[in-house]
């Protein structure tokens, strides 16, 4: 059922993309990423490196009218080098509306649907949600953005399903015409899986037990995976440069802590990528 829905959404996205010739653009790219804690372990964690590629179609608000529509459709694939079972492919479709309430301030509301197929099929999922984002310029080259995202992710196995509410804020600076950086903070409250890690010594290790579908043995992580409510705090940095017209390079790093009944897991993620806009 979920596979069929994913295929239908994929086809819808492609059809919508090729039927919208104006104010739209394609972007493709590749990246190398690092994740210090792919198993969300509260005690250590397994790190891994992945290679990713994507194709994105987007239609942005032109600003010619106060109210305009947007569309984003993307396909993405990531191959993990050590934990092959985490390799995944996903498709995201996000139509939206942008409103300019006053001069350069903008608000975008965008529901989305995302289908994700993971080599470890337990984690394959269909997600629905909506994002509300605001942007305001501060002076000539500085801007501020805020966003709220609600996500309902339904995985093949309940332990990987989650709903979450996310709030974020970021500050960006256009240093030159071709170089920018952003720094941000994000808080989210919702479900997540966590593991105890391989050499757990935590005294709270038993708190996730006895919750029916809330835990499951994972052959991918070779340990029991627990699902619980967590608070996640993230801080991140992104920098991008336009190397030549239409060719961009991005670097991003995020530090996250995720605190639940089991304990706190810490994660460092980073990626460097190259994008071509056409």
């Amino acid at each position: 059922m979920e596979k069929k829905a994913t295929i239908v959404l994929f086809l819808m996205g492609i059809l919508m993309a090729i039927s919208l010739p104006v104010y739209a653009a394609w972007e493709t790219g590749g990246k190398v990423g690092f994740d210090s804690n792919v198993n969300r372990a509260i005690n250590g964690g397994d790190s891994d490196t992945y290679l990713g590629g994507y194709l994105l179609y987007s239609r942005e608000a032109t600003g010619e009218t106060r109210l305009d529509w947007t569309l984003s459709a993307s396909m993405e694939g990531n191959a993990f080098l050590k934990n092959n079972d985490l390799s995944n492919a996903c498709f995201t479709l996000a139509p939206g509306i942008t409103f300019f309430p006053y001069l350069t301030w903008s608000i975008n509301v965008s529901p989305f649907v995302q289908g994700r197929a993971v080599a470890d099929s337990d984690q394959s999922a269909l997600a629905f949600g909506a994002k509300v984002s605001l942007k305001q310029p501060i002076g000539k080259s500085v801007y501020l953005g805020e966003y709220y995202v609600y996500t309902d992710n339904r995985a093949n196995e309940e332990v990987y399903s989650y709903t979450e509410n996310t709030l974020g804020i970021y500050l960006g600076i256009n240093w030159t015409r071709t170089f920018f950086s952003e720094a941000g903070y994000e808080y989210s409250r919702g479900d997540s899986f966590q593991t105890l890690g391989t050499t757990s010594t935590t005294s709270t290790g038993g708190m996730g037990m006895g919750r029916g579908n809330q835990r499951r043995y994972s052959s991918t992580f070779e340990t029991v995976v627990f699902k619980e409510k967590v608070d996640r705090h993230s801080v991140g940095l992104t920098a991008g440069i336009e190397l030549i017209p239409s060719l961009f390079s991005n670097f991003s790093y995020t530090y996250s802590t995720m605190k639940g009944d089991l304990g706190t897991s810490i994660d460092h993620t980073g990626s460097i990528g190259l994008s071509y806009h056409f």
Partner: protein, 173 residues
């Protein structure tokens, strides 16, 4: 090896200050009478300041606010901004008002001189109305996020903070 690194570093540094002359992009529309690309036809190499009297404010269907600028020696057609942005700026100037326009000059295919407005000063009131930033980026498109403009938005797999549905966390796989 060290030389290669140094050369690459210099190349990377020079890219930071790479000049951009024209905003023209494939997603521009071509204005029917003038043949000017809008809003991307702004060329920073042709920017100049013209002072004169403003007449004949109009807004062609689906196009930006336009008006004539008589400088005494020449007459320009000023291409300003979409009407909602013009309204938000609070521009209220009667026909014949003396204004000073900074903008990119261009010769239209209809033989008229055009001025793609960057900002407009009304000397009698001292008010300045900005339509575009220093690089000619249209301010009505919202803040330019990232060096490449407001691109790589929702769901962009390459975008960092606030990019994907889950923002920084990018979901939990």
């Amino acid at each position: 090896m060290a030389w290669a690194f140094l050369l690459l570093s210099l190349l990377g540094f020079s890219l930071l200050f790479q000049p951009r002359t024209s905003q023209a992009q494939e997603k521009d529309v071509v204005l029917p009478e003038s043949g000017i690309h809008y809003p991307g036809g702004f060329d920073s190499n042709t920017v100049g300041i013209v002072q004169g009297r403003a007449h004949g404010f109009s807004q062609p269907p689906g196009g930006p606010i336009q008006f004539r600028l008589d400088s005494g020696r020449e007459t320009y057609i000023v291409i300003a901004s979409p009407s909602w942005y013009w309204k938000d700026l609070g521009v209220k100037i009667p026909d014949g008002t003396e204004v000073r326009i900074r903008g990119s000059k261009s010769l239209g295919k209809d033989g008229n001189l055009y001025l793609i407005g960057q900002d407009m000063e009304v000397p009698s009131t001292g008010k300045v109305y900005a339509f575009r930033d220093d690089d000619g980026y249209p301010l009505w498109k919202g803040p330019r996020t990232g060096a490449q403009g407001p691109r790589g938005g929702f769901g962009s797999p390459q975008k960092g903070i606030g990019g994907g549905p889950g923002g920084m966390g990018k979901g939990r796989r």
